[in-house]
Homo-oligomer: 371 residues x 2
């Protein structure tokens, strides 16, 4: 059924029922359904972030399922709160659907949102639901709390530079999606929830399990090549439904931090700009996943380039003087790597032969000069 | 110059400079330019609202200037905070521009935003600036604070029903805009700041003053009729750049409150639904402006219909047992009218002959059935 047959009031009622809170639960005084939401006074600092995702710019519905979209919308915002050293608490959603969107699309977006909210322990407190003339638009504002705030500014010469997990996977995943033939795109889009069970999925994520295909077909020149799902799956998952990294074990040590959303190179330059420092990255230390290396070789890509110039990794990039990396890694599933150090002015990537190339402040730019 | 020639980084830098805060100013620990903003702990309740405005749905760039858009985006959100009995403090903006949008359009939106922020005493703390494939999209989240919270629920039988200022003006203003000939539309769009000086403008609003035309031409049937700017101007202004009503003199007395955004009839039904009551509205008591009555007659509209079924008034509708209306009106520019009372179940409009017609829960619905 199309949304315009259902009507706004009925849709709002459904959302309100689904995300209902008991009075006073989680510090919420007024939840969904009034002019505004009301939260009880806070003893900690209040951390606020907002992010927008637009059809045709941030996502392509040819290969993105509404479930993934909903999940990702929450994750990218949680990632920003984590990157400040905070804990995500309350979310507000402005969603615009085209008039021909159907009930299933609508419900699946909320399934993805709901799944992410449960995973992160975040409550939906309000928003705006409206129609859009041509493209789906999703905007979220997330409120968190935190004691010690970790800014981008704060790095100093001699600090080491760290990153969580592996980077470049998301950019490679996106490149795979773009090259998939139509049947494989549809298979990925229509078996969204199955990705929750891929190797590497964080504990706590569960869901339905329709089958994923065992391999995918990609266009290469005039021909077709195939890539195994065991290689492609984790990369696609990193792009389609990224999981924000928990910074609670990191924040006590970090001097500066941000999440890598526009590529390691550009985001590191931002950290340096704010801190008034330089940085050296050791090329060999940048953590690349085995799947990325394998897929990049198959596709003729430079995996290091995916890592430094790609985007949407949502890994934490941070600096610290005395981060106990071995103890941290022994305790956590998501490992941390030391990839370089903070310098006075110079900003270089240094390869294994000691050859230095300048760190470029490049990455995805909205309204950037054409490519 | 087109935005894609300017580039995202330069645009962000400009915004950051323009809305810069000193460290600690207004309780802000981290402002624009990090992963998230950080606000100091709050002793009062935290009130949060969000609203989205989409091109082709909420506004038409044929007659809406970017200055008005920016101003209205802030106002509609402030209105929601006021309607809870709060004071607006911090705003976050997600704005999406098409790639062919130019620097002037961009700057004028921020001029309107800036003007509204100064007027309401709200600080811009962050947001997301991105590109849109086809339509301009504006989304704002506003954080306020408040002690006594006024919900939609809370009215009880015997409470009187009140509304601020006059209603229906905005709906009539929109109808004028839709009927204007092309030249008049352009004149309205291009002399946006001049509206700040129209009769009825709230004190504190200032700005540049390009000339407004003294009359406007509207299509009527096959012909053209003209309407004087002194009549049309205030109505257009109510639609194009509404001013949120200050609830500080009202909140101490109010038992329930909301802002009239989707028409008196629908919004009153919402208040009744949440409070579990009915309501009677005395038709003759509903405050209509002289401009509305004059313009509606010229255009063949029922002014009362503009008031009950129109939208976007952003007046406060509230209930109270002992509201000191005479003292309030003696002290405030924006007057309050008593328009009815809260009943047990019955929901009627009663005319001067005592004839009752049911209050319909009608008004603008996104995804509503056509027509």
């Amino acid at each position: 059924m199309h949304l315009f047959q259902t009507g706004e009031l009925k849709l709002l009622k459904e959302i309100r029922e689904r995300f209902r809170l008991d009075p006073g639960e989680d510090g919420v005084i007024v939840g969904i359904g009034d002019d505004a939401a009301v939260i009880a006074p806070q003893k900690e600092n209040i951390i606020v972030t907002t992010d927008m995702m637009n059809e045709g710019v941030h996502f392509d519905l040819d290969y993105t399922s509404p479930f993934h979209l909903g999940f990702k919308l929450v994750s990218v915002n949680v990632s920003d709160i984590m990157a400040m050293g905070g804990v995500a608490r309350y979310i507000f959603l402005d969603l615009a659907f085209t008039r021909d969107a159907d009930d299933i699309f609508f419900q699946k977006i909320y399934d993805g949102i709901d799944h992410a909210l449960s995973y992160y322990g975040v409550r939906l407190l309000g928003g705006d639901l409206c129609s859009a003339r041509s493209d789906t638009v999703l905007s979220a504002t997330l409120i968190g709390v935190g004691g010690k705030i970790i800014k981008r500014a704060g790095a100093s010469v001699g600090d080491k530079l760290y990153v969580t997990s592996t980077i470049g996977d998301s950019a490679c995943g996106l490149e795979i999606l773009k090259r998939l033939d139509e049947r494989s795109r549809e298979a990925i889009r229509d078996s969204a929830e199955a990705m929750l069970h891929l190797t590497g999925a964080e504990p706590g994520l569960g869901g339905h399990t329709p089958a994923l295909p065992s391999e995918l077909a990609m266009k290469k020149g005039d021909g077709i090549i195939t890539i195994k799902m065991e290689t492609a799956g984790p990369l696609l998952r990193r792009h389609l439904m990224p999981v924000a990294r928990d910074s609670r074990g990191i924040a006590p040590y970090a001097s500066a931090m941000l999440d890598v959303s526009d590529g390691l190179s550009l985001d590191l330059c931002r950290l340096c700009d704010e801190s008034g420092t330089g940085a050296i990255v050791y090329r060999d230390k940048v953590p690349l996943s085995g799947d990325l290396v394998k897929a990049a070789e198959l596709m003729g890509l430079d995996p290091f380039n995916c890592a430094v110039s790609g985007g949407e990794d949502y890994e934490l990039l941070f600096t610290a003087r005395d981060f106990p990396i071995d103890e941290y890694n022994a305790l956590h599933n998501i490992k941390v790597s030391c990839i370089g150090e903070i310098t006075d002015e110079i900003r270089n990537v240094i390869d294994k032969y000691g050859v230095a190339t300048p760190l470029k402040s490049e990455g995805y730019q909205h309204f950037g000069p054409p490519g």
